[in-house]
Symmetry: C2
Subunit: 337 residues, 2 copies
């Protein structure tokens, strides 16, 4: 049976667990806000469900829960945020204002987040840039899970990419999608709940198509969305989030990870663009006309709309946490070393 919690109760659950397991206040707050953004928006695969992984990485010593990020300018339009072996949320907070300033000044700016352990959804950082009236793109490479086009063995991570655009009224347009036909978190949840998957999501350990999520997780591979085109997107994410910023490709992250179940060390690439510089004074009216026309088509809605609908409700309704997960997090808090 799921346990119904208020957002404040769930927040305390996460925060206490992180503090008990070696996070300092700043990191515990930042990770908790990231976890709670997912819970608040109805994305449980990136919410409390990830907490045992965060804790595993703290307990193994892979991640420094007290890391203090450093922001440096690598070029007038390029920032490096060194997370110094910590989780991503505090480092993203540190980089946000400098990236916004650089994008406003230069028209476009990029941020390379390095020596970081990223375990969350990307729409969170994209939305925070879009709130500053910027167009933003973020991507990160993760553990090998998908073959390149033509191959059968895992090489690319599920490699999510998020993109956002500010809207004049109502919530921003932000999409966040794995390069895989399905997000790994969704496959993990399907496995946990015993659901079958649609065809085309992955191959089993023998390289054969399967609809069993556990068969994909047990030595199989995820498949990119849309065949070779999705595979190209996954490759682009590797090159931006590892090659360009000097961090680990998915295959390197896997080779060097301690397999504690927490996020491996990796990098994240973020791009911010100021639409006011080339888009003209009426850039926002122009893009609003685009969205209006798009939404006038029967059956069409904007990516992210469901998230914002849920966000409006959860402060009153609270959220449901699976009882096993709730007990596990309590156990991790009380049984902390």
């Amino acid at each position: 049976m799921p346990i119904r919690c208020s957002l404040d109760e769930a927040r305390a659950l996460a925060r206490d667990c992180l503090l008990a397991n070696g996070c300092d206040e700043a990191n515990a707050e930042a990770v908790t806000e990231t976890v709670m953004a997912a819970e608040r928006d109805g994305c449980p695969s990136h919410g409390l469900f990830r907490l045992p992984g965060y804790v595993a990485a703290l307990r193994s010593g892979k991640v420094d829960g007290k890391a203090s990020p450093i922001v440096a300018e690598a070029a007038p339009g390029m920032l490096r945020v060194d997370a110094r072996g910590g989780f991503a949320p505090l480092a993203l907070q540190a980089g946000r204002e400098p990236l916004i300033e650089a994008a406003r000044r230069q028209g476009v700016a990029a941020l390379g987040l390095v020596r970081v352990h990223h375990f969350a959804a990307l729409w969170i950082e994209v939305e925070s840039l879009v709130a500053a009236e910027l167009c933003a793109l973020a991507c990160t490479a993760y553990m090998p899970a998908m073959p390149p086009a033509g191959g059968k063995q895992p090489f690319f991570g599920t490699n999510p990419m998020a993109f956002g655009w500010p809207r004049r009224d109502g919530p921003p347009m932000v999409f966040d999608m794995a390069s895989a036909a399905m997000a790994r978190g969704e496959v993990m949840i399907a496995a946990r709940e015993g659901h079958e998957l649609p065809p085309g999501v992955g191959l089993d350990a023998a390289g054969e198509p399967t609809t069993d999520p556990q068969a994909i997780l047990d030595g199989g591979v995820m498949l990119p969305f849309g065949g070779y085109k999705g595979a190209s997107i996954a490759m682009m994410v590797e090159l931006l989030a590892a090659g360009l910023i000097g961090e680990r490709f998915s295959f390197e992250a896997a080779e060097q990870d301690n397999k504690d179940g927490g996020p491996p060390r990796g990098g994240e690439f973020i791009l911010a663009l100021d639409p006011a510089r080339l888009g003209g004074e009426d850039w926002q009216a122009h893009s609003e006309a685009f969205f209006e026309r798009m939404l006038a088509i029967e059956g069409v809605r904007l990516p992210g709309a469901r998230r914002h609908g849920t966000r409006a409700r959860t402060p009153d309704s609270g959220i449901e946490v699976p009882d096993a997960l709730h007990a596990k997090i309590r156990g991790l808090t009380e049984g902390a070393p």
Copy 2:
């Protein structure tokens, strides 16, 4: 029967036709080089096949064959290239060096190409930036051909996106793909040659799935690759290549086009990033190790490899031009107004 031509013969065929139909020397040269890059690389859908469309746009007066592009700095990292109603190739030439300089100086730079008529493949401009050791991305919106996720009526263009990364040895890695399940040029060629399409490429005018290319072209719609994820990529292209740079969205381009068969007015977005700034001194060895590992997987090859293979052969082998197309281009040259 196809007619076998040397590259020089084909080049002269294109150039004479453009000059006869109102291009000045500079524009005729630039468009010809773009057409010939496609022919040389074995991409006939973007080669001489497009020439009748170029000519139609010149004859109708929609495109100025003597346009002289202007490059301006909109921000330290953002350039605007105003093609002044001309075709894209000369404007892209004008913007190339300033964009390379800006990317080297700023780390990242964007270029908005506006008041332009783009009718070619994007890998050409991406490859020219990658040749300068930059990572590059380009995209452009075109005439409405695909519905947003959930819809049935055309709204997004087929919206190609190209991305490239420099390699130390051998040809650069450049992919160039439509957001559609298949490029519109390929559907046009399939229609001309009477080939059936694989399922999932489009809907007919009644909104039903079809494998008949002509049924898609006759009032039907193309479908994005990979379902709603490809639709999100197509939307991103609209926002970058129209919203961000202040040019026409696909739906606007269609409403304002004179339907002469040539390319509508639109825009192109190009991003260039310098991997040396964040990627470290060994950035190239790092990405080479990635490509080596990827290519060691059975069945895997890099996007663009076929193009470069063809490029090595066509200087000797020449190319085949369908006789009807050859005669048509001759007719357009000799019968020029």
